[in-house]
Amino acid sequence: MSGAGEAKGETLLAVDGVSLAFGGVKAITNVSFDIRKGEIRAIIGPNGAGKTSMLNVVNGFYHPQQGQITYKGQTRSRMRPYRAASQGIARTFQNVALFRGMTTLDNIMVGRTLRMRRGLFWQMLRYGPAMQEEIAHRRVVEDIIDFLQIEAIRKTAVGKLPYGLQKRVELGRALAMEPELLLLDEPMAGMNMEEKEDMCRYILDLNRHFGTTIALIEHDIGVVMDLSDRVVVLEYGHKIADGTPEEVKADPKVIDAYLGVGH
């Protein structure tokens, strides 16, 4: 279904020899892979494989002890959250990190913060340049709300929303950053079939129509096979496979580790 491993473009993100440890626990050991512009890259592996930690390293939240990250041609040994955000990396979280005290609309508006420039003085006055800026960004946010079909819950406090909707709002918040690279951490966890189909549709739309590069941690193998262009498989912090979905599915190491021994 996806492009069978054809190069979709130049490399957008490359991690090279990254190792990350917490005290004695080695979360990631010497992992290298790349993500090409415009592709959907899946990162899969059993629990504890280091997938979320990998995303955290890309975001600059965890700093690896070894290795380098190359993003848009610039190589660094550690990323900083602000730099990652301002250069177009957005993400969603495994445990829905929404701002619980705020409404859906406000949560997504926070995603626009980087692009809002009006300082304290204009904010104190509110009416005038600050309001114009607010309206302009509200328009963008409303487009996202349309896209995700969450108009009805605009003014609801996100803490009151069911889990599936929360995940959708979180996606909206990430989209508000107009990201070039979107990192999704188990976006379909805990969803039923219908919700998963919706989410897949959104992801495909983002990739096809807006050209967003997407890195996706996911446990549902069917989704991974259908959606992704290439797949990276991690196990206990090591990379054990890297290739197209078909290649990975047939790889005996992956079958042993992930899909069950003895096939």
């Binding site: 508006m109 995603g111 600050a130 309206i135």
Partner: protein, 358 residues
């Protein structure tokens, strides 16, 4: 039924983003303004103005300041009284050094001094969080209070250690000092508080308010959205301390008329914290409600035995006040931990659907 908002459709984003989008709310606000600006000065006694309204407004301003820090940004601070003191002493020094400049200017400028000190004591907030930050702000509180006693220059070497407010005028009318009438003082305080509340409302309903709330709710996610934590937190300290500083200056110049360093002790910090918690964290309206309850209740309790004709010693009434305030704090926390503001919202919700239950 009383509060129905059906039929009130918004046709522009601007209208939808309004602070009081519901018409009934706007009427309510107009009524409150009318009462505040017209009815109370016209019909209120001097006692009402001087001992109830002026302190209530000033404490509300301080509560708004603290709410910005604790309620909106999630930074627990016990140094509020210290920052209020900075504002008070700054205004005093500025006014005695440059008496020809209008006192209102100096009161507003004193906020900047308080903001500066607030930023300095807010620097640890990048590394320190939660209760630990509260202990750090206690350092600010005790250190500042020590300064108010030790640094004699602050109170112009007055041997009693206290500051006495000189008489100052606005447009020729005395507003501070012994010549100022409660009505005049009331209008000045009311004006300042209304304007500053408006500004606070504008700030918290916009980008900056959202940034603060994001930092409060999940600072990790906020960082990954590109929000820089330290500038956001320092801005919260700055704005919060500005409001507290102005409140402190108003307290000394337009309420007490004089001040000793003990006026800005830890008890005042706790008092403001209670107001914010009981009124509702993250709510400007709540700040007013909390201030009203905490300030007016003791007055009410003190007045009650007299009006009922019971002979109760003044000291006992004080102690009873502590007892009742403490019990009320516990009661409110059990009944509605989100404060009076939430209770008010629930009431409005009930009014929407009355006489139906839901």
């Amino acid at each position: 039924m009383f509060y129905r908002e059906t039929g009130q459709f918004k046709q522009s984003y601007a209208a939808d983003s309004a602070v009081f989008p519901i018409l009934q709310d706007r009427y309510g606000l107009a009524v409150i303004m009318a009462i505040a600006f017209v009815a109370i000065p016209l019909f209120g006694s001097e006692f009402l103005l001087a001992s109830v309204m002026i302190p209530f407004l000033i404490l509300s301003l301080g509560a708004i300041g603290l709410n910005i820090l604790v309620g909106y940004t999630g930074l627990l601070s016990l140094g509020t009284a210290g920052f209020m003191g900075v504002g008070a002493y700054a205004a005093y020094k500025l006014s005695t050094l440059f008496p020809q400049v209008n006192i209102l200017v100096w009161i507003l400028c004193s906020g900047f001094f308080a903001a500066g000190i607030g930023v300095v004591f807010g620097l640890p907030s990048l590394r320190i969080k939660g209760f630990y930050l509260a202990v750090a702000t206690l350092a600010a509180q005790f250190f500042l209070q020590w300064c108010f006693v030790r640094v004699a220059w602050l109170y112009n070497y007055n041997p009693s250690g206290a500051i006495e407010v000189p008489g100052r005028t606005l447009f020729g009318i005395a507003i501070t000092g012994p010549m100022a009438t409660p009505v005049n003082r009331y209008y000045v305080v009311l004006g300042v508080v209304v304007v500053m509340t408006l500004i606070a409302s504008n700030i918290v309903h916009g980008r900056i308010g959202r940034t603060w709330m994001a930092v409060r709710d999940m600072d990790i996610a906020a960082q990954l959205m590109g929000i820089r934590l330290l500038p956001a937190k320092l801005l919260a300290f700055a704005v919060s301390s500005f409001y507290c500083g102005v409140a402190g200056a108003l307290m000394v110049f337009l309420w007490l008329g004089a001040a000793e360093p003990s006026a800005f002790d830890i008890k005042l910090s706790f008092l403001l914290l209670f107001m914010v918690i009981i009124g509702g964290l993250g709510s400007l309206v709540g700040s007013f409600m909390g201030a009203a309850l905490i300030h007016i209740l003791p007055i009410f309790i003190r007045a009650l035995p007299e009006s009922l004709g019971l002979p109760v010693a003044a000291a006992t009434v004080e102690h009873l006040t502590y007892l009742i305030v403490g019990a009320l704090i516990i009661f409110f926390l059990i009944v509605e931990p989100h404060g009076l503001a939430r209770l008010w919202q629930i009431t409005k919700q009930k009014l929407r659907v009355w006489p139906f239950p839901y």
